[in-house]
Subunit: 231 residues, 2 copies
Amino acid sequence: MSAPAWKKIHDHVLAKIRAGRWVEGDRVPSEAELCERFGVARMTVGRALRELVAAQVVVRVKGAGTFVAPPRHHATVVEIRSIADEIAASGRRHETEVLLLEKSAADAALAVLMGVKRGARLFHSRLLHRDDGVPRQLEERWVNPALAPDFLAQDFTRTTPNEYLTRAAPLEQVEYGIEARQPDAETRRRLAMGRDEPCLLLRRRTWSRGRVASAARLWHPGNRHQFTGRF
Amino acid sequence: MSAPAWKKIHDHVLAKIRAGRWVEGDRVPSEAELCERFGVARMTVGRALRELVAAQVVVRVKGAGTFVAPPRHHATVVEIRSIADEIAASGRRHETEVLLLEKSAADAALAVLMGVKRGARLFHSRLLHRDDGVPRQLEERWVNPALAPDFLAQDFTRTTPNEYLTRAAPLEQVEYGIEARQPDAETRRRLAMGRDEPCLLLRRRTWSRGRVASAARLWHPGNRHQFTGRF
DNA sequence: GAGTGGTCTAGACCACAAT
DNA sequence: TTGTGGTCTAGACCACTCC
């Protein structure tokens, strides 16, 4: 029925700080003081305070004490799931049309993007994702054959590049950018977009074993797609 | 010099899982087994495993055991910092121009957005953020006076609404959406944008003490702004 | 030197799951 | 019934900070 002792201490300290009774830089009672105040062992108090450190509510300095941390950085964290997951989670039907799946050679720009030599062989795919039949994402992707040799053999109407690459090349690092862009005529046509409608573009590069595994551009119709969430 | 015992156990288990030696659903050795294996007390093993739970690497079931968690959802996580922080972090100069700072009354749409009655009093601001003199963000914001009564008295050339609101109304929940949009003529002019250039729009609502504290629309020129990052 | 946090031990009692 | 994790105690040693 009742909460664990460490949780009570945790909540007690958190409440004081949230209520503004203790503010940034103030010293929080020491472990010894809290032990006496709550009648518990030091390990129990330690656990409570460790959880507050993890939550960035306090900072602890060995030999000095425990202090209220600066108010948390007020950043918005946006989680972008794969289009297939997102559509499936909404209970709608996800379909993929493979527009292109081929070998290609790196031109100057691609060579820089993929970290390979000019003329190096790359895999290249262009997929159209539909949501209950409505175009929702045009995915253009280049893949390093050394890291994902079976890329061209995948059936992307049944799996997604994302899923295959996650299995084939363990993810080490991701770089991304979100922009608003006017699409070219081909993209506009594929996504069935109106004349002045802009695209929401997500660029993403992934690294595996120290090399660029994949570079993708995900184009979304501006009036039919948003990256959303709450927390 | 040497890492704490709990950290060694933590890393040992993590390495096994990362290497694929133990996969989703596999049973991880019990606390008792790890105690013997590493020659430590149970509390020490417990701490190692608790950290792995926090990292969503394992799940623990009382009475049953510790198991490898499903591989983490392969989503892209985008962190959007406040424009002032972002510019300052780049070592450039951030300036704010206050275009508007006033009381207003909620129309039908705003009443729904802010969760107040039609005609209720709201605070309204429109700020232009510049990056070394170049317009980078047009911020339009409505604020619930009950939660941030001193909003109109702030000097937003010195602080930001974000900073003030963080102090005044402790953040409970955030809802956001990112879209690509054509700006209206006024926005295009303020952001010094070209004719066909789209905007990257971030909408955000924040809750405090169970009520909507603030609703904002942050407009960014599509060719001068991206949400970027890597991890 | 006194106070503080970081870590660790060797027990213990409990709730719960599998058998 | 046995094994599991969740919690807790009453000590301990150490490294560090502040005075």
